[in-house]
């Protein structure tokens, strides 16, 4: 199931998955059926760019530029993070140019 993610693919939250700020605990949470995930601050930055419109390559470009980090390293980190969420059923990938849900 862990095929490499295509740079042109468009990640989106799987249906039934929501990202919201948890006021009571002062953190961002990813909510899914019967599950609560608490991504670390880097994960939150990635997830806030997952909108079903931006392709993976653009997300990497934007994060590399925003944090002035080597693009290849960002690509590896973002790819690993999203692949983990795909395996958990929290993120789905649409093809290049797909407009999301």
């Amino acid at each position: 199931m862990s095929a490499p993610l295509s740079a042109g693919g468009v990640p989106r939250l799987a249906r039934g998955v929501r990202l919201r700020h948890d006021e009571a605990r002062g953190q961002w949470v990813l909510l899914a059926p019967e599950r609560v995930f608490q991504p670390d601050p880097v994960g939150v930055e990635i997830l806030r760019k997952v909108d079903g419109v931006r392709p993976l390559s653009l997300i990497v470009d934007e994060l590399a530029s925003a944090f002035s980090v080597d693009r290849a390293r960002v690509a590896a980190d973002v790819g690993a993070f999203l692949a983990g969420l795909v395996e958990k059923g929290l993120i789905e990938f649409g093809g290049s140019g797909e407009a999301g849900p």
Binding site: M1, A14, R15, G16, R18, R20, D22, A24, R25, V29, L31, P33, E34, V36, V86, E87, K88, G89
Partner: protein, 375 residues
């Protein structure tokens, strides 16, 4: 002792810090249900319709839950669609930021009702199946035609674009159908399935002799689920509610008493778990009289078994005390006759062999179902 001379006496010390906020709340909107499942987990004494909380009180409870830190609310029962004000409640839960999950048997839910539920903003629907085929579902639920109605509801849920979980409670009559349940979930385009081994509290305890599978069946079921979970990673999430009569370690019931979640009964009693009323003498506070946050922090029932201080020495000294959280208090009550005893599911309990013997005896008992009847 001089260093302590200025310390305040114990009685003047500040109150202990409040417990961390709960993540989930099960709202049992009603005990009414069209199905008659012998494994029903609700209490033997059901709450009557005229004792149910009114709409306004439920809406206040949902608002308070959101403020308290609850992230997910599970609208359940009984059959929650028996409440005519369900859509109003869903809309309110969504408005206050709660991830809103509907747990339904599906049999009386028309496409129009489902559309209204979707329009109200429901996040997710969990639909129960009593069997993987019509004969089993209809027999276990004692509702002719139930399976066909559930299939129709599942298709409508997906047609509306809503995420679907299939819930399957397994026991002797259907434990061999686990592969078929998984195929059913895939065919219905569900992304999640719960394989929940029947838990023997409330009404279900009466039917243990008719429901208990053998040890061999349970271990085969666990292996099938493990294999499928690996094979279907990324396609179907498989969650299991584990059977504990044949286990070595107890289940970490509710992930610890009063630690992550709370239940509100149809009449407004707030319970640490939905079987908690089987423990006599616990003092449950009611949302009619107390704010939810005060109940979470101060209710004697919640504080009775919170943390590890209440544990018997055997548990308090165990390296798994914050893994198992002492197992299940209701099971200690049911088997050991003492809610504060070590859970007999644990191999360290002096009653462990007794519990295993109960299961092995029940597994070869051919009792007929004592169906639950309550509309």
């Amino acid at each position: 002792m001089n260093a302590l001379a200025d310390a305040p006496a114990r009685s003047e010390m500040p109150a202990p810090p409040p417990p961390p906020a709960p993540y989930g709340m099960l709202a049992e909107l009603t005990h009414r249900c069209p199905l008659q499942c012998p494994y029903c987990s609700n209490p033997v004494e059901l709450e009557r319709r005229n004792g149910e909380l009114d709409t306004e009180t439920w809406l206040r409870v949902f608002s308070e839950a959101g403020k308290l830190g609850v992230l997910q609310v599970h609208l359940s029962g009984g059959e929650p669609t028996a409440r005519r004000d369900l859509e109003l409640m869903i809309g309110h839960c969504v408005a206050v930021g709660l991830y809103t999950n509907l747990i339904t048997a599906g049999v009386g839910v028309t496409p129009e009702r489902l559309r209204a539920i979707a329009d109200a903003g429901i996040d997710h629907i969990q639909l129960s199946f009593q069997g993987a085929d019509a004969q089993t579902t209809d027999h276990v639920s004692n509702f002719p035609g139930a399976h066909g109605r559930k299939l129709a509801v599942a298709r409508e849920v997906r047609r509306l674009g809503l995420p679907l979980t299939v819930n399957a409670v397994v026991h002797r009559a259907n434990i061999h159908q686990i592969p078929a349940f998984i195929e059913l979930a895939l065919a219905l385009d569900a992304r999640r399935i719960e394989i929940a081994h029947a838990q023997y509290y409330g009404w279900a305890l009466r039917n243990r002799g008719a429901l208990m599978p053998t040890r061999a069946q349970v271990f085969e079921a666990l292996a099938i689920v493990e294999e499928a979970r690996e094979r279907l990673k990324g396609r179907l999430t498989i969650d299991a509610v584990v059977p504990d009569y044949y286990a070595k370690y107890p289940k970490p019931c509710m992930n610890g008493w009063g630690r992550q979640s709370l239940n509100v009964s149809p009449s407004g009693k707030v319970l640490p778990c939905h079987a908690a009323e089987t423990i006599p003498h616990l003092d449950f506070w009611n949302v009619r009289e107390h704010a939810l946050a005060d109940i979470w922090t101060g209710s004697p029932a919640f504080n009775a078994f919170r943390g590890t201080d209440w544990m018997p020495a055997l548990c308090r000294s165990c390296e798994r005390r914050e893994i198992d959280w002492g197992g299940c208090r209701c099971q200690a009550m049911a088997i050991a006759g003492d809610a504060a005893a070590t859970d007999p599911a644990c191999h360290k309990s002096p009653l462990h062999a007794h519990m295993l013997a109960l299961a092995e005896t029940d597994a070869v008992t051919a009792d007929a179902y004592d169906y639950r009847r309550y509309l």
